[in-house]
């Protein structure tokens, strides 16, 4: 995997530390050579071309970059790509199958859980982690689990409804 970037540093190319890592992304086994300072979000977006994971604030606040690492929701702008070595990453691209949407995606469609859509992938991944731990959440549980994800459009009402919709669909 190659990540091309603008060079603003004086170091010789041979002085740049590079690590080789292996990981799974959405079930697929991958390998990469990364500089230790590369963020997981950049590996996902630029290295793997999976641009469904969004970069919002870049300061660990907004949760748009949320992915699952070994099933736990993580802000991928606040984890180094090298730390993915040996781990399983899930992104929003892994939700749908070739033929059908994931119930969370259906829920966001049915309940109009998005307007601009920027926060949506992070919301869905945080919600996925919640529903795997707690398949029958209350509205309060959903609000609590999504409290690390910011949405500037919707006022959250429909996002919460969407997740509850998905929870019900997944249970039935």
């Amino acid at each position: 995997m190659t990540i091309v970037y603008e060079d603003h540093d004086d170091e010789a190319a041979t002085d740049i530390p590079v690590r080789r890592i292996k990981f799974r992304i959405n079930g697929k086994k991958m390998g990469a050579e990364v500089e230790p300072r590369l963020l997981l979000a950049h590996l996902i977006r630029r290295g793997l071309g999976l641009t469904g994971t969004h970069m919002g604030c870049d300061t660990t606040n907004c949760g748009a970059c949320t992915v699952l690492v070994d099933g736990r929701a993580v802000k991928s702008c606040t984890m180094l790509a090298v730390q993915a070595d040996g781990h399983e990453i899930s992104t929003v691209e892994g939700l749908a199958t070739a033929s059908e949407l994931h119930p969370l995606q259906e829920g966001f469609k049915e309940e109009h859980g998005l307007q601009c859509g920027f926060c949506t992938p992070g919301m869905m991944m945080a919600a996925k982690a919640l529903l795997e731990e707690n398949p029958d959440p209350t509205e309060e549980d959903v609000r609590w689990a999504l409290s690390g994800n910011l949405c500037r459009c919707t006022g959250y009402q429909n996002i919460v409804k969407s997740v509850l919709w998905a929870a019900e669909k997944l249970r039935s």
Binding site: T59, T60, A73, A126, G148
Partner: protein, 291 residues
């Protein structure tokens, strides 16, 4: 945003980690949860030469009670582990009430209590909790292991007494001699914001009388503040409206809040008083119900 360039090692044992720290040059940082360190590196407030990532070191993710009743929290125990812990819910009321209000749920999946203590942010919640409980950290380095009471560990904003080649392997909360009560209250503008004001109260009672008390304050000074006079005012007598009021006043007195976008100094001081009063009044009511 990218951190500046650094070398990265991910050792598989503590000894290897300590050796890397010892030989690693002038500016080495331990990476555990990374929820404070990585943002600091991205903003270039921190530009370490070497990162020693301890996430692959086995056996550090625990929290457990030893036979002597002391609680031990390993360097890789995440906030989320503590939030879901039945052990904390049944034996550590102050810690159990703090765990769900650290940062936000996603950050809690990765961040660690020990990392929070080492980071020594004046607005960090755990430092107040551990200080109120009379806790310590266990630091290991090439010269051996030493216990450092939290009261001596944090020396100022983002400063602690660790040697450059020492790693905190666990935090230790001493055994209770009486029945524990208390709590942690945090005023924040929204989930994930730093505390406008945080107050940790830990009380132990035998019979009616308070035998040990600790009160510590978050976000109202240049570092975590131990309100020792306020805590001392509670000891040796039952919790009463009078002793609670006295402790609340004394705690408000030692707060050193500054007016900023989160509120005026006067408001923050008032909230310290209110929070101490609220936590202790709840403890008093719970004791009355139990009696």
């Amino acid at each position: 945003m990218y951190p500046s360039r650094f070398r990265y090692e991910a050792p598989r044992s503590l000894d290897e980690a300590i050796s890397l720290m010892h030989n690693g040059g002038d500016y080495v940082k331990v990476l555990a949860g990374g929820q404070s360190l990585v943002p600091l590196m991205k903003l270039r407030f921190a530009s370490p030469e070497l990162i020693v990532d301890i996430n692959n070191v086995p056996g550090l993710a625990y929290h457990r009670t030893d036979p002597d009743g002391s609680l031990h929290i390993g360097a890789l125990c995440r906030h989320a582990d503590l939030e879901r812990s039945d052990l904390l819910k049944t034996t550590q009321p102050t810690m159990a009430s703090a765990a769900p209000v650290i940062a936000d749920p996603i950050v809690r999946n990765r961040g660690t209590l020990v990392g929070s203590l080492c980071h020594a942010d004046p607005q960090g919640d755990w430092a107040s909790v551990v200080l109120a409980l009379g806790g310590a950290v266990l630091a290991r380095g090439p010269r051996g292991t030493r216990a450092i009471p939290l009261a001596d560990f944090v020396t100022g904003p983002f400063q602690n007494v660790l040697d450059p080649d020492e790693i905190v392997v666990e935090a230790v909360i001493p055994a209770a001699r009486g029945i524990r009560s208390g709590g942690y209250l945090k005023l924040e503008r929204r989930v994930g914001d730093f505390a406008t004001v945080g107050v940790a109260v830990a009380v132990e009672t035998i019979g009616e009388n308070v035998t040990r008390a600790g009160i510590a304050l978050t976000g109202v000074g240049g570092s975590t503040i131990g309100a020792t006079a306020a805590a001392d005012a509670l000891v040796g007598r039952p919790l009463t409206a009078q002793s609670i009021g006295q402790a609340a006043d004394l705690a408000a007195e030692v707060a050193r809040p500054r007016t900023d976008h989160r509120g005026s100094a006067e408001y923050k001081r008032h909230m310290v008083r209110t929070f101490v009063q609220r936590i202790l009044s709840r403890a008093e009511a719970a004791q009355e119900r139990a009696a």
